[in-house]
């Protein structure tokens, strides 16, 4: 069999695009993933077939319950929406402020001391592995239900993200522009303010806006664990099976998110 294969190969000059070993590996990985998939379906008792066969019925049932949205409920949803946006604004502001010193300490172009550099990096990496919903649960249990817990959770969550993005940007700046300021007798703060800031400011603004958008969406989910915002009323309405109210909230939210993203895209285009 292998003999024959070899012969064929040497006869024809047609080579496969990928080496045989790679093809074999990919096939194996594919089979394993497929097996795992069916095992999961079996274990969780998910009825995939019914979902496909009765798809139209499910959709119909869902929409019959959700539509038409309860337009009157929109006025109730406005206040929690504003709260959500407030949580996102405050959390983004806090994390932007804290991330500046943190990311300077986590950038090897600024901090030459290996210990400080590694320690800051490690702390930031750990922060980033904690899911936002877990942070919110922890803070709710510490400070009780309400907007403070939401703000703290999102501040810490976005701090990890922002500091990572910013410190990596600071690591790619041109060190020669700093060297000149250092050589003329500038101190470290002057080097940062005159040499680093102009180089990273456009990206920094862009990251800040991005994290703000993320925070608006995240604060929605946080409402489910009692951390304030529009998620709280979605949770309540879902629990009482008032789907037409839920639909109204979703519409309000969709409009708000679209408006926020449009504005932040406009701002971003202006600075970059």
């Amino acid at each position: 069999m292998t003999e024959k294969n070899k012969n064929q190969k040497s006869k024809s000059n047609v080579h496969s695009l990928y080496p045989r070993k790679l093809k074999l590996q990919i096939t194996w990985i594919f089979i394993i993933v497929l097996l795992f998939y069916f095992y999961s379906l079996y274990e969780t008792g998910a009825d995939f077939v019914t979902l496909i066969v009765d798809f139209d019925k499910i959709i119909n049932a869902l929409f019959n319950k959700m539509l038409p949205p309860n337009w009157e409920y929109i006025s109730v949803a406005i206040d929690p929406l504003i709260e959500t946006i407030q949580i996102a604004v405050v959390a983004t502001t806090f994390s932007v402020l804290i991330c500046i010193p943190a990311s300077l300490m986590a950038a090897n172009t600024i901090v030459k001391n290996k210990f400080i550099y590694q320690t800051t990096r490690t702390i930031l990496n750990i922060l980033r592995t904690i899911p936002d919903i877990l942070l919110a649960t922890i803070f709710v249990s510490l400070f009780g239900i309400g907007i403070i817990s939401g703000i703290l959770a999102l501040t810490i969550f976005s701090l990890g993200l922002l500091a990572k993005l910013l410190s990596e940007t600071i690591e790619t700046i041109d060190p020669r522009q700093l060297e000149a300021i250092r050589a003329s007798g500038g101190n470290i703060i002057q080097v940062i303010w005159y040499g680093v800031v102009p180089q990273v400011l456009p990206q920094f603004i862009s990251y800040g806006l991005y994290v703000f958008e993320l925070n608006v969406r995240a604060s929605l989910v946080l409402g489910f664990v009692g951390a304030g915002g529009i998620g709280t009323i979605i949770d309540t309405e879902l629990n009482f099976l008032r789907y037409q109210n839920v639909m109204a909230i979703l519409i309000v939210l969709l409009v708000a998110v679209i408006i926020i993203e449009t504005i932040s895209n406009m701002l971003r285009r202006r600075v970059v």
């Binding site: 522009q177 250092r182 050589a183 003329s184 007798g185 703060i189 102009p198 180089q199």
Partner: protein
């Protein structure tokens, strides 16, 4: 006056940069350092403002041994020593004026500099220095929108705004074409004679060294192998410094297009 006394430098990775250098540079001199790549020219120059740290010997700038300076004292030394770089090292996204006035940072308090509170005299000084190198018309242009020669002139203005006693220039014309190179060297020479600022320049073009220097220092493998006035220098001297015959690319070429004066 700058005095190197048995000065040696070994880089942290073990590479020797300078070996037992003894040199005295007098006030107002225009010294050109020549030598092949890796000879230690940059190391020599950057020792004087402690951008690198010599490991043995003594180094006096205005009668002060600078090897132990730290923190504030080191920054004070650096305000007295202006530095010009091969790649101009301007802050690209900042304006020409902001780059120029940043030469005052060493003389300005941290808080004041954060809020751009430079004194009237400082602003006037920066503008006058831009005028001196004929670049004042680009004052609010972003630095990276200028040509190489223009950027180097801005960096000269920045150094002048620092009000230095001494100017160090590390290959200031290596990235420029021949006419622009001569223009930049002429500005440096003019400043040297008019303000009596001691100037030390690294060059690897023989003809330019001969044209602008009062005195030439030749280096090879971290050692000073020649030190004397230009009048004592001939093609033979360079062949000794370089340890090989002179080639075409050791010459920058003549000052055909004089640019503006």
């Amino acid at each position: 006056m700058i005095t190197f006394k048995d000065l040696s430098l070994v880089y942290p990775n073990g590479t020797p940069g300078l070996k037992d250098v003894n040199v005295t540079v007098n006030e107002g001199e225009f010294v050109v350092i020549v030598g092949l790549s890796g000879a230690g020219k940059s190391t020599f120059i950057r020792s004087i403002n402690r951008m690198v740290n010599p490991t043995e010997g003594e180094l006096y700038v205005e009668d002060e041994n600078i090897l132990d300076l730290k923190g504030k004292d080191l920054r004070k030394l650096r305000t007295k020593v202006g530095m010009i770089f091969q790649n101009y090292n301007l802050v690209n996204r900042s304006s020409v004026f902001k780059n120029t006035i940043s030469g005052r940072l060493g003389h300005t308090g941290t808080l004041k500099s954060i809020f751009n509170l430079f004194s009237k005299e400082d602003k006037a000084r920066a503008y006058n220095n831009l005028k001196r190198v004929n670049i004042e018309e680009y004052i609010y242009q972003r630095a990276d929108q200028l040509s190489g020669g223009q950027q180097q002139r801005v960096s000269i203005a920045r150094v002048l705004t620092q009000d230095p006693k001494l100017i160090l220039a590390d290959e200031p014309v290596a990235s420029l074409d021949p006419p622009t190179s001569h223009q930049v060297m002429q500005y440096l020479k003019k400043i040297n004679t008019e303000d009596n600022i001691t100037t030390i320049v690294n060059l690897h073009f023989i003809d330019m060294a001969m044209e602008y220097a009062d005195r030439i220092i030749g280096m090879r493998d971290g050692e000073v192998v020649f030190d004397g006035p230009v009048s004592e220098v001939s093609e033979k001297t360079f062949e000794q410094i370089y340890n090989r015959p002179i080639r075409e690319d050791d010459l920058r070429g003549s000052d055909t297009d004089d640019g503006e004066e």
